[in-house]
Amino acid sequence: MRVTDRLRFQNAQLYTTTASESMQAAFDQLSSGLRVVQPGDDPIAAGLIVSYKAQVSRMQAIADSAQRAVDELDSADGAMATMTNMLSRAHDLAIQFSNGSYGAEERASAAPEVGQIFEQMIAVLNTQVAGRFIFSGDLDTTTPFDGAGLYHGDDNTRQIEIAPGVLGSTSVSMNVAVKGFGGGTDVLTALQNFQTALTNNDATGIATALSSLDTGLRQMTTARSSGGASTNTLQTAISAAQAGQVNNNKTISNLQDTDIVAATSRLALAQHALQATLDATQRTLSLSLLTANGGGPAL
């Protein structure tokens, strides 16, 4: 092949540019740590990165909201523990005063305490977390129980997403646990009746109240375990979401991040290639008849 000057210069330029380009590419990858910056760098990986990042955000959001739900359930559990203690006290009183050895006066003296327990129950049932009532179903701003012990909330259970597309319960229905909705015992009415029975020295009424409070305690225990189960589910969801995040982040890193070792050796290789190109270019271009005779034509 006949080699002309322009050919030599063109090729010198081309090879130097190509070697510089690959060195720059290796340098970019190494310094940014990213293998995929533009979709064109690796279309499949770029698409997957977008999708996995969305997954990570989704997992994060699920973990965050599940954590908030757990906090709320903890408050609910605390409230239920307090109510269990109150009901136990009422239950103790019922056992005590169902004994025929107590007279009308003694029984009547205990009535105000039962009245207080009733009022404390109402106060606890109206617990608010972050400005909303936790025992009113979906009706955040409705005070669930009035002074007479009537329920004004609804029967919905609050639900949140615990895994993509899966909903889990995050609330406990006090309409069931306390008001006996769906075939249980109305504990609040039982407390009221107990108070009346004590005032009226009604031994039968006290015995009925004792039985109702017994059931009420069981209802409360059931509600607490259901809340605990929900908490467990949510904790599992949080762990799963966190594990999912870790896994997805790992996948993203595999897809997107530079393999430092490979990139370093590529950079070294590109550096050598560029150096070699520059050396060769210098040597090739220095060969000319023009320089053979001190810069003048060889005559």
Binding site: R6, D138, I160
Partner: protein, 468 residues
Amino acid sequence: MPDLLAILSNSANSLYAATAMVDIAGNNMDNVNTPGYSRQRVNLASVVPLEVVGGQYYGGGVAIQSIQQSRDNFLESQLPSVFSQHSQYSTQANTLNGLTALNPDQVGNLSNTLSAFYAAARALSQNPGDSGLRQTFVSATQSLATSFNNTSNAIEYSRTATDSQISADATKITTLAANMADLNRRIGMARGTGGEPNDLLDQRQAVQDQLEQLTGATPIVNGNGDISMAMSNGVMLVTGDTSSTLSVRADVTNRGHYVVQYTQPDGSGPYDITLAGGEIGGLIGARDGALNTASTNLDSMAFDFATSVNTIHAAGFALDGTTGRNLFTGLPATSPGAAALVAINAAILANPNLVGAASAAIKVPGDATQLNSLVGTESTNLTTSGKTPAATMQSMVASYGSSVQAASAISSQAKAMHTQLTNMRESVSGVSIDEELITMTKAQRAYQAVAHVITTTNHMLDTLMALK
């Protein structure tokens, strides 16, 4: 018997030949970097003696037979398609690479704001009455709408940027086509007078190369040596010594982007044409290909997403008990333009209490049922794409990336071919300074030798004249 005066006259011709060799070598070196220049060579031939003198043929010296260009027609006939392909795909790859809005790591890109929107909706589902969470949800919604707008604008900006290049290219092509027609005419005239107009041929070659790069037009050589240029769709850009004119027109059916038109040499037209080759073809291909697909997909996604979210949101009740309010407004009746126009409902932006977070008036401020339906759209397939919003983004990014990668791959392949062929052409037609220096030295030596012949002949004539 040889004639002393004839020797002198032959020597004069020989000096002339040597001078011509230096002249052409000089011209070659002058044009060592001229694009399209083909090196020239002086073809010498010995003059055949016409008569026999004393029973012998005595040579008649040297004559310049021709001044010839070094060209390889076979090689040159392969160049047009390579020129066209190289500039078409490198232009396309560069144009497509210029768009950064779909980069997976771009700050505030669509997939990030989409995720943020759903995260805010989830947080709100925890406590729909919380004014802070409502405000966060409204801000996330606004960011998402803005992100749709920005992505759409970035794509549209890339498309518009190609328009100015297309328009500039059309002007350049028109000028070059007129040049080429003029050169055809001048070459025809020069050939009529006898000699080969090498420099005009070089100029025409340079113009032809540029036209091939710009339009992908292929040369057609006709019987009288004119070169006409036909574009990929059969439209004649140059016919002999006449040329067509290219212009652009805003096409309302393509969002006002330019369509190229041509006017025939006789003034008829302009007619719309589709150009697929060369730089202008690459620009149009990028604009109406991958960029247009990305823009259309984005519009569909914005339209489907906003519509499905609106349907759910409109069923919800705001803090004041009102209902039927869309979360996103500004949507056109059909998807085109949706991504650029989608916006958060101004009333909701001004008053986050209007977010429809409750599934019934009685459930105000809100319940998880309503917000979970809203969050559910993250897992619901969009109408057009048949995929979830995140998967739609994924396929959009991957499909755009594939187009960029394909254009880049063809571009580097064409670049290699281009380098190979131009190197081969340069090898045949290019000027080597070393070679020219040697030619010059060769001519100089011949000149010196002939000068000696003249001196010797002169001495002989002197001797003759001194005879008494």
